[in-house]
């Protein structure tokens, strides 16, 4: 099976839930097996599998699944990379096949969020939940403006676009106010 044949549309919440549950049942045991053999805990396996699923999702919606692997094999490949990254000892690194080696992890995935960032995000959620949700659909879930209109109840792509830029302006004001200083943004 090649990656173009994904049966579910992961952009659709309902289908995504089904797909993820199926992947959980099929792929989590594989990851748990690998991680347990390596001396990792259930929690390790859980963290790694869930991160792998998120990274898989991001690659799927941005059309970045360029390696010819089944979705199951792709997730296992991401998980192996994650495990190797987590490992302190270089002796126990998992070996990767040539397809798995081509998988790249997103560089920003491992950034530790500062409490300042978390506070800012919380503030945005409180002050502009609808805007945050709208921008999430556009930036994170990579929905088209037509899809956005349907989900968020706009009459057409144009009004969705207008609202998008209104939201950016609104959030910009909050982010600018809450940034410690002008230099904080300018450096």
């Amino acid at each position: 099976m090649i990656i173009e044949e994904i049966a579910f549309d992961l952009k659709d919440l309902k289908q995504r839930e089904e797909a993820f549950e199926q992947l959980y049942e099929e792929v989590f045991p594989v990851i748990a097996d690998i991680v347990s053999r390596q001396g990792g805990s259930f929690q390790d396996a859980k963290d790694i599998f869930q991160d792998a699923l998120i990274i898989f999702y991001e690659k799927n919606v941005s059309g970045a699944l360029n390696v010819r692997l089944s979705e199951e094999a792709y997730i296992v490949g991401i998980a192996k990379h994650l495990w190797n990254k987590k490992l302190k000892s270089k002796y126990k690194l998992l070996s990767l096949d040539s397809f798995e080696k081509k998988i790249l992890l997103p560089e920003d995935y491992f950034e530790v969020e500062t409490s300042k960032t978390n506070r800012l995000l919380h503030l945005l959620e409180v002050a502009g939940k609808k805007c945050v949700e709208l921008l999430r659909s556009i930036y994170y879930d990579k929905l088209s403006l037509n899809e956005v209109s349907q989900i968020h109840g706009f009459s057409n792509a144009h009004s969705a676009s207008v609202q998008k830029y209104k939201c950016i302006e609104k959030i910009k004001v909050i982010v600018e106010q809450k940034s410690l200083s002008y230099e904080d943004l300018m450096e």
Binding site: A32, Y139, Y140, Y182
Partner: protein, 91 residues
């Protein structure tokens, strides 16, 4: 002219790498001396990364719900035992 440089859609196209080579060079030249544009670019980048963080948190919550279902509900007992067994073997 000045307003168009600060146009959010234009900045977004720059951040998404959608500008032509020529547009990109012009944009980056403008960035050097236009502090207002520079600030807007920074703000937009910051918003992008905040929304990504939000998206990841929401996705994590969605997946955690599935985890909870698979590991708590009795209908998935066989699955649960199968996983438990794996970690027992290496304790």
């Amino acid at each position: 002219m000045k307003t168009s440089w600060n146009d959010t859609p234009h900045i977004e196209r720059y951040l998404n790498n959608e500008l032509s080579e020529e547009e990109k060079i012009l944009f980056e030249a403008q960035l050097v001396f236009d502090r207002h544009l520079k600030l807007n670019v920074r703000l937009l980048k910051r918003i992008h990364s905040l929304i990504k963080l939000y998206g990841r948190k929401k996705m994590k919550a969605e997946i955690e719900k599935i985890h909870h279902k698979l590991f708590q509900s009795p209908e998935h007992l066989i699955f649960q035992q199968r996983i438990q067994q794996l970690f027992k073997n290496y304790d």
